[in-house]
């Protein structure tokens, strides 16, 4: 296996460039490093899977990439903007327009229908109601839930809920899809369905897909696999045929 440890890609054309990124949490006067001196380039359209045991910094890395948290040190450049130094408003704007999130627990708003949950992702973009409805309809069709638009999350199966979450992530046509254990709460068959769907969407839309998983079956579908261990990232290049 070709494993590099904290290397910077020589490629000029990158969507992400992380340099010297550390994230240290402080709890009761004690410092807990979650990510340590991480350097990483991610190309546009790349599928990167990040594996690792619980508590080794996978989710923290995803949050740093998604602008949900800021590093204690280093820079997280996305499309020329350093998310570590940008104002909260700038980061929020990047989140709203460029990132789609998929969570393990789906994180759908329980009182909103499938269509309304997907529509919620378009609210920060200031799109007209009619345009929102049209895009939501297409997004739900693309995940095979066109006929379940008016269903509440509680009326859908786990796999269907995750499809709604994927539709919500894709409806804004983001550049990057960030998925945190998207199959963690699903059975094997459903897991395969969801991964197949993500694969299709990744190919069709030329998305950059960064997926955190502890499931090796899922990780093997990615182009590159990173392994987080004690806050440090090791990358295994070009696993995908």
């Amino acid at each position: 296996m070709d494993i590099t440890h904290g290397t910077v890609s020589p490629a000029e054309n990158t969507v992400y460039r992380l340099a010297g990124v550390s994230k240290i949490y402080r709890k009761g006067g004690r410092e807990i490093p979650a990510v340590i001196d991480l350097d990483l380039d991610i190309k546009p359209g790349e599928w990167l899977a990040v594996q690792g045991k619980t508590g080794h910094g996978k989710t923290t890395l995803l949050q740093l990439l998604g602008g949900l948290d800021r590093p204690s040190r280093g820079s997280v450049e996305f499309g020329g903007t350093d998310l570590a130094k940008a104002t909260e408003s700038q980061v929020r704007s990047v989140r709203a327009s460029s990132f789609g999130f998929i969570f393990q627990t789906f994180n759908l708003v329980p009182t909103l229908t499938a269509a309304e949950n997907a529509e919620a992702a378009l609210i920060p973009l200031g799109i007209s109601h009619a345009n929102r409805r049209e895009r939501v309809s297409k997004a739900l069709d693309s995940v095979g839930l066109g006929d379940r638009a008016q269903h509440l999350p509680a009326e859908l199966s786990g796999g269907q809920q995750q499809r709604v979450a994927i539709a919500r992530a894709l409806v804004k046509e983001p550049r990057v899809l960030l998925a945190d254990e998207p199959t963690g709460n699903l059975d094997e068959d459903t897991r395969d369905e969801i991964i197949a769907l993500l694969d299709t969407l990744w190919r069709e839309r030329e998305l950059t897909l960064i997926l955190v998983t502890h499931d090796s079956v899922v990780a093997r579908r990615a182009q590159r696999i990173g392994l987080m261990r004690n806050g440090r990232l090791s990358i295994r290049q070009d696993t995908r045929a």
Partner: protein
């Protein structure tokens, strides 16, 4: 659109909690409206009492204390059979003249001292005074002496009489009365023996228009019958001021009251000028008693005053406490709801929602709950006021009497030992009257309820919104994990 859909769905999801918060606010707001309604009712009842005493337009009344009695103007004694076997007779002496038979009918001023008739004119010329009317509050005392020694001396009868300033129909006790029959005074009546009679008195004495009522041994033709909104101490008979002056006697001096009055009714130029008017009159007449409506209100005692104090103090504080409790519960429950929705808000923040948008969503939900609570509160307030109207006992008010000079009589039968049988002096100067209380919901109360509901919602939503705004998306999403 999305805002409202989300708001409606969220309220529906937390319906029980929303109802609980709304009910808490409703009870507080309903209590505020009820207390305000009851308070307004009591105040209105008090105002009715005051208006009945001194008329609608009167802001200030001017009187003086009566001079001490110079002599005992009236005394009586009963003499028993003499050695010769003569039957005894009741004897009443008035102003040095003693009567053993016939009818004694005197019109006297007792409670208030005499003022010059020019006083009203002088007061009318003061800076902040809009109008001033003279008045002569009198009592007609009538004693019928027995014709034979075997008859008992009957207790005297008294009629309260108001010498009405015809030139100022909008001031004084008659201004508040409603004419039920006949007419009121005109300028041609200034020197005429005509009277306007209170309906209660007319009914009790079976008086109708055109009949006569006897005042100071003069017959006055009844030209009008009036009712006062508050049956209590208003005068029973109104006669023109000039006629009253011609017939009245000052009880203290025993002299006629020609060109004299004993009350001036004053209207200030504006409500804000009442204090200034009081000062100006006090400066003009240092010995005078200058009483404003609010002074008079403070003199009212009895259950009406107690109810006013109860509504004003206990009711107000009870309402405030309930409101504070309702606001606190609403705030705590909203904060608890926000705590439960941390993952939801974290997700929305991850989707790029502004903190302000999330705060406005929380505020919208709590203000909606507040408005529902306000609407329920208004309903409860109306119900509370209706219940008070139904079950509230009739209040009583003990008020300073407008007239005085009644007889305090102790009657001894013939054959009794010599000694005083009657005395004349100011009668008891307070009257207790029944006051019907009618509580009502005012527009102010409803506006206040709406404002309180919105304030309660905003307060609760602010706490919850503040908590939601401070959420870091990463921390919120970690909570999910």
């Amino acid at each position: 659109m999305f805002f409202l859909t989300y708001l409606r769905r969220e309220l529906r999801r937390r319906m029980r909690q929303a109802i609980f918060i709304a009910l808490g606010l409703a009870i507080g707001i309903g209590l505020v409206i009820t207390v305000m309604g009851a308070s307004a009712g009591v105040k209105a009842a008090q105002a009715k009492v005051l208006r009945a005493l001194y008329g609608i337009g009167t802001d200030v009344t001017v009187t003086t204390k009566p001079k001490p009695l110079s002599s005992r103007p009236t005394s009586g004694r009963a003499t028993g059979p003499g050695p010769g076997g003569n039957a005894g007779h009741a004897t009443v002496c008035l102003n040095g003249k003693c009567y053993t038979s016939g009818t004694i009918d005197t019109l006297v001023s007792g409670d208030h001292g005499a003022l010059s008739a020019a006083t009203a004119t002088k007061i009318a010329q003061l800076n902040h005074v809009s109008a001033a009317a003279a008045g002569l509050l009198l009592t007609d005392n009538r004693i019928v002496l027995p014709k034979t020694s075997s008859s008992q001396l009957q207790p005297p009868t008294s009629i309260s009489v108001d010498g009405t300033d015809i030139s100022h129909p909008r001031l004084g006790p008659l201004s508040n009365a409603s004419l039920t029959k006949g007419r009121t005074f005109t300028s041609q009546d200034a020197n005429a023996n005509v009277a306007v009679v209170d309906a209660s008195y007319a009914t009790a004495h079976k008086l109708t228009l055109g009949e006569a009522v006897t005042i100071a041994n003069k017959k006055f033709t009844v030209v009008g019958i009036v009712t006062q909104p508050q049956a209590g101490s208003p005068p029973q008979v109104y006669i023109p001021l000039q006629r009253a002056q011609a017939l009245a006697t000052d009880l203290a001096t025993g002299k006629a009251m020609t060109k004299q009055i004993n009350t001036v009714y004053v209207t200030a130029a504006s409500a804000a000028d009442i204090g200034a008017v009081q000062k100006e009159i006090q400066h003009l007449l240092p010995q005078a008693t200058v009483t404003s409506s609010s002074d008079l209100a403070s003199e009212i005692t009895g259950s009406a005053a107690s109810a006013a104090k109860l509504a004003g103090a206990l009711g107000r504080w009870l309402a405030v406490l309930v409101l504070i409790a309702a606001f606190a519960v609403a705030s705590l429950l909203t904060m608890a709801a926000v705590a439960r929705r941390v993952p939801e808000f974290g997700t929305l923040k991850a989707l790029g929602w502004r903190s302000g948008r999330i705060v406005s969503q929380v505020l919208g939900e709590s203000v909606s709950t507040g408005i529902i609570g306000g609407a329920l509160g208004v309903g409860l307030g109306f119900a509370g006021v209706a219940i008070i109207d139904k079950i509230a006992p009739k209040l009583s008010a003990t008020v300073p009497s407008a007239t005085g000079g009644g007889l305090q009589t102790q009657v001894a039968g013939p054959g009794g030992g010599a000694g005083p049988v009657s005395g004349v002096g100011p009668a008891a100067s307070h009257t207790t009257i029944a006051v019907p209380m009618s509580a009502s919901v005012t527009v102010t109360a409803i506006v206040l309820a709406v404002l309180l509901a919105i304030a309660g919602g905003l307060l609760a939503g602010s706490f919850g919104g503040w908590r939601a705004a401070r959420l870091r998306p990463a921390a919120a999403l970690t909570r999910v994990a």
